[in-house]
Symmetry: C2
Subunit: 126 residues, 2 copies
């Protein structure tokens, strides 16, 4: 039996889906067009940039994003191939890796972040 509450829930969920997709694809398109990176690549870059000088382990990234561990690993592959990030081995635990922005990565992130924030403002700021 479809209750009124059910219909409201479905409406609410569709609203979330729409605003999520609208925003995500606006970000995706802009970042792809102007910086040749996908949204997930940017998100990881952004997280690495936030780490500042603290070591930024792969593990930590996995905890700050809904992406899977293996997705993170592949995103980092692409970022590394693009020369934006580099994997460094940890001396205190040789299973771990931490990430560093390259100079190119720092520059691209700075520019892309401006675009990113501005698109968020357009799409989220009502």
């Amino acid at each position: 039996m479809a209750t009124t509450q059910d219909r409201q829930l479905v409406e609410q969920w569709r609203g979330i889906q729409n605003s999520y997709f609208r925003t995500a694809s606006a970000l995706e398109r802009a970042l792809e067009a102007r910086f040749h990176i996908g949204l997930n690549e940017f998100e990881i870059l952004d997280l690495v940039a936030e780490c500042a000088d603290a070591e930024c382990r792969m593990k930590a990234l996995g905890e700050r994003t809904p992406m899977t561990q293996s997705a993170v690993s592949k995103v980092v592959d692409r970022l590394e191939k693009a020369g934006l990030v580099s994997r460094q081995t940890c001396t205190d635990d040789r299973r771990s890796l931490y990430l560093e922005l390259t100079d190119a990565g720092r520059i691209l992130h700075a520019d892309a972040a401006v675009e990113h924030r501005s698109l968020l403002k357009e799409n989220l700021g009502e």
Copy 2:
């Protein structure tokens, strides 16, 4: 320069991403486990069910979901192969198709919808 507003926007966006992913994957897992259909399959089934007896054209579906036209086409492929839906040709425009739930589709949708609403309530109703 990272302003306070920027940080708030990023926080807001991450919040949306998290709640979207959390909810979507809970739905995905449950529907997959109990009914052997994915979330998008269910969403289409749900839209077709909403059409009641009015003809439900593929075209119309495309307008009610963030999915691409070709994604809708493929989701319908799967639903049809699973025997939950059938494509009917329109007499007034032979390019168009409309969809009908099969009996199995109606039954599965009824059960899955209960589960779907209940998971939405858990995940969205605070």
